[in-house]
């Protein structure tokens, strides 16, 4: 089992390296001089040159690539005599580098990955992500957990009482839920629960995790704002989880080992939960994690409609303004998150189904 996990982690690292490489070359093909973009209107030659030097743009592409890797790697090589790029300018933000080995002013250090600075706001990309991502994470997690719990709980009776009224209703509901576009659902939800029924629900049409108090001007945590976007975002995964749980449990219940379990004298509840459900969860988990991963990348429409300031909104803004460091940084960040989720899923499969561990 440990070997299995180790193997997955090594594969994960390789994939991350691949992603970094692809991103580097993709964004190097794009037109535009980063130095000029960074400086904006006041671009005298000397400051352009300074920036170019700082970014290493005067060096060949291969050197730039190595520098890019070195900036990103948590364990990296540094020349302490040199005023090298981001850490020097942003010491306050990045904090101390932990020197592992050093001699003659050079050494290997342990540090946070450096993501550059936004062309637009001049803020650290890491800071932007650190602010936006927790909101996306919270939104994605709560809608997925909602979808998973309700979905499995509804899928079980739908499978047991196949062709009953409940089953039919759920089938209609899930095909509806799968086909409704998310921006449309978002608008309808906002309108219905935060406008028409606002007096009863007490919800606002939009608002992020933190609200500003009208009188004192202070920010405060407003979890109420989470309810509508989480439900809206959860509709489609919920529909899918219901129908997947149903079909895969139906499949499991027709297997021979279910008959064996019944022949032992187990009650029907124990048969379904202990023998049926566990055998039918793999496709459900695949779907849930797939959706979770894509929600992490930002549920752009829903975040926009509800004005939830998550990573999806950040990326769309950056795209509009051609803010390359923000785009690169967020894409990279999301890729790493996705890779780790996938590793977790693989491990989860292995726990649920011992046959996976073999291959």
């Amino acid at each position: 089992m440990i070997r299995y996990i180790l193997k997955r982690l090594i594969y994960g690292l390789l994939v991350i390296w691949g992603v970094v490489t692809v991103i580097f070359f993709l964004f190097n093909i794009l037109p535009g001089d980063p130095a000029r973009m960074l400086l904006g209107q006041r671009s005298d030659i000397s400051s352009v040159e300074t920036i170019q030097k700082e970014l290493g743009l005067d060096k060949p592409k291969s050197m730039q690539y190595l520098k890019f890797l070195n900036d990103l790697a948590p364990v990296s090589y540094h020349n302490f005599d040199h005023i090298d790029s981001y850490w020097y300018y942003n010491q306050e933000f990045y904090g101390k580098r932990h020197v592992i080995i050093s001699s003659h002013g050079r050494g290997i250090v342990l540090k946070w990955p450096y993501l550059r600075t936004s062309y637009q706001s001049k803020r650290q990309v890491s800071a932007i992500i650190a602010e936006a991502f927790p909101k996306t994470l919270l939104l994605a997690t709560s809608s997925i957990v909602l979808a998973m719990i309700i979905g499995i709980l509804l899928g079980i009776p739908a499978a047991i009482y196949k062709d009953s009224a409940l089953d039919r209703f759920l089938l209609v509901f899930s095909s509806f839920g799968m086909s409704i576009p998310s921006f449309f659902a978002a608008i309808i939800m906002a309108w219905l629960f935060a406008f028409v029924l606002a007096d009863y629900t007490g919800l606002q049409m939009f608002g992020s995790l933190y609200s500003v108090d009208d009188y004192t001007g202070k920010e405060y945590l407003n979890l109420k704002n989470l309810i509508l976007p989480a439900i809206t975002l959860g509709i489609r995964p919920l529909a899918i989880v219901v129908s997947l749980t149903r079909s895969s449990l139906l499949d499991a219940l027709s297997q021979d080992y279910i008959r064996t379990a019944e022949a032992k004298g187990l009650g029907s509840f124990a048969v379904v939960v202990k023998h049926g459900l566990r055998n039918s969860l793999n496709p459900v988990i695949t779907a849930i994690t797939g959706w979770f991963a894509s929600l992490m990348a930002g549920a752009v429409f829903v975040e926009y409609v509800f004005d939830w300031k998550g990573i999806g909104v950040v990326i769309v803004d950056a795209l509009e303004k051609y803010d390359l460091p923000v785009i690169m940084g967020s894409v990279l960040f999301i890729s790493v998150i996705l890779i780790f989720i996938n590793i977790l899923v693989d491990i989860l499969y292995a726990i649920l189904d011992p046959r996976v561990r073999l291959s």
């Binding site: 021979d256 019944e262 032992k264 004298g265 189904d353």
Partner: protein, 553 residues
């Protein structure tokens, strides 16, 4: 102890339609074994499921009673009924491969039944489970307690299911084809285990099988079922020595056996219709090899599989599925190939045709080395050699009507000028294999297993091959259907002068069909020779154990 009267089970809600079984009467005493024999679809499994109370939802008991120790089980509520299950009446199923929960440790599955039915805590239940594993002769019971089903062989899984079934000292044990999916040698062990357990626990045993030979070894009394009805009951001796009903007679006769050597196997329909072929049939003669030049010459054929282990796949385990095998097949003969599952017979048959690429060796077919041919000329040769596969259910595409399925190989190899000629040829072939013209536009699901195998045979004949490899061609069929297909294969051989390689795990069938015999084990040839000679004087211990394990009927 158990008494069934006038039982009638119907499928579906509409009355008088789809009667599954009718007029079933049986009784079983403590420590006795009742054998139920019949073909698939005769209603034997349905009867068994009715006793334990696990009928599929669409089946309804519309008449009769099932009495157990004076209580009519059919009058009990679902909850009360459940208390009998596993505790007083337990059951072993046909498919050990799929009857265990794949994601639960084997020990836990047995333990679950013990905790449910006996007042024991987890630790005691675990001890009892390991004790039971010892009782059913599982090796290393403590390790097996912790292992998952996919880590065990079919025979071991069946032993675990048996352990589960006897865990709570049931009064009645129902075994539904418990050995059908297993090799003969394993079958022998399982049967003797069941007999021992019955004696030890004084259980009533209901043993269901389509194989009369197996029934004879186990049962005290036999009930023969046909088409949902009981056609004959009686003691084992009575049924075997003086069968009354023509169907029983047919069942006994249509199985290839050691003592008789008939040219044609008797077919059950003929016997039921009163035409008795038994007396007038001639003997089957195994051909001597008279030809100097072999049609097929296999030299040093080897197929290895490597499985990678270790962190980066650094440890390799090499399994030789086919290990340096050489043999010859002469024109007009039938070469039999026997061995237990996993011995490499299927790999061998596929490697000959390069359906899987062998690692080493050469195969000369009519003096051409198949291993050296390019794709186009290999395709040309494949026209002349053909395979009939094991499973008639999955080797036909369910979406293609059978006429087109038979025509397909002709199209692939561009035989005959146009589709009209091809169609006529297909109709001709259908007739050859005993099907009718109007079957042309039907789809596979409309046919029974035996008919499907005929379709597969017709498809094989479409290319006018000279050489046919039958890979377990009759293993999935009932004995009565098996007899018909075997006769068909022999008739076709007489008519077209085919050369066969006949692969099977069933020694009786192989011996009946073949002139010469190859016995395989672990990818190697153990013994080669004249079929009758090997059967009468096996020289290797392995062949001896195979022959000993065959139930005698």
């Amino acid at each position: 102890m158990l008494k069934i009267e006038n039982l009638k089970i119907e499928f579906g809600k509409t009355k008088s339609e789809n009667i599954a079984v009718e007029n079933i009467n049986l009784s079983l005493a403590k420590g006795k074994a009742l054998g139920i024999v019949g073909e698939s679809g005769s209603g034997k499994s349905i009867t068994a499921l009715a006793i334990i109370g696990l009928l599929p939802p669409k089946a309804n008991i519309t008449q009769g009673s099932i009495e157990f120790e004076g209580v009519d089980l059919l009058l009990l509520s679902k909850r009360e009924r459940r208390k009998y299950r596993g505790q007083k009446i337990s059951m072993i199923f046909q498919e050990p491969m799929t009857s265990l929960n794949p994601v639960m440790r084997c020990g836990k599955q047995v333990q679950e039944s013990i905790i449910l039915n006996q007042q024991l805590n987890k630790k005691q239940a675990k001890e009892l489970t390991i004790e039971l594993f010892e009782k059913v002769n599982l090796p290393r019971p403590k390790e097996i307690y912790k292992s998952y089903p996919h880590q065990l062989s079919g025979g071991q899984k069946q032993r675990i299911i048996i352990a589960m079934a006897i865990a709570n000292n049931p009064d009645i044990l129902i075994a539904d084809e418990p050995t059908t999916a297993l090799d003969v040698t394993v079958q022998k062990e399982i049967i003797s285990l069941l007999k021992d357990l019955r004696d030890e626990y004084e259980m009533g045993l209901i043993f269901i099988s389509h194989d009369l030979g197996v029934i004879k070894e186990v049962a005290d009394d036999v009930m023969v079922m046909y088409d949902g009805k009981v056609v004959e009951t009686g003691s084992v001796n009575k049924i075997f020595n003086s069968p009354k009903h023509p169907y029983t007679k047919g069942l006994l006769a249509c199985r290839p056996s050691i003592n008789t050597n008939l040219k044609r196997l008797p077919e059950i329909d003929d016997i039921v219709n009163g035409q008795n072929h038994l007396e007038k049939s001639e003997k089957k003669i195994h051909h001597p090899i008279g030809h100097p030049k072999p049609t097929l010459d296999v030299i040093d054929l080897t197929k290895k599989y490597t499985s990678k282990r270790g962190l980066i796949g650094n440890k390799r385990i090499i399994i030789k599925a086919v290990d340096n095998i050489s043999f010859k097949v002469y024109p007009g003969e039938t070469l039999g190939l026997v061995g237990e599952s996993g011995c490499g017979k299927t790999t061998l048959s596929r490697a000959i045709l390069r359906l899987i690429e062998p690692n080493k060796g050469s195969v000369f077919f009519n003096e051409k080395n198949l291993m050296k041919l390019n794709k186009a000329s290999l395709k040309d040769q494949r026209k002349k050699i053909n395979i009939i596969f094991q499973d008639p259910y999955s080797s036909l595409n369910p979406r293609i009507c059978i006429g087109e399925a038979i025509m397909e190989p002709m199209l692939v190899h561009k035989l005959y000028g146009n589709n009209q000629i091809r169609k006529n040829r297909v109709l001709e072939l259908l007739e050859k294999v005993g099907l009718r013209e109007e079957h042309y536009n039907r789809f596979p699901h409309e046919f029974s297993g035996g008919q499907r195998q005929r379709i597969v045979i017709a498809r094989t004949l479409a290319l006018n091959p000279k050489f046919i490899i039958c890979d377990e061609a009759v293993s999935a069929l009932d004995v009565s259907v098996q007899a018909k297909v075997l006769n068909l294969l022999n008739d076709l051989k007489d008519e077209f002068g085919f050369t066969y390689i006949f692969i099977s795990h069933d020694l009786n069938v192989v011996r009946y069909m073949s002139d010469r015999l190859i016995v395989m084990k672990d990818g190697k040839i153990v013994e080669v020779g004249n079929a009758d000679q090997i059967y009468n004087n096996p020289s290797s211990d392995y062949t001896k154990s195979l022959i000993d394990a065959v139930p005698i009927s």
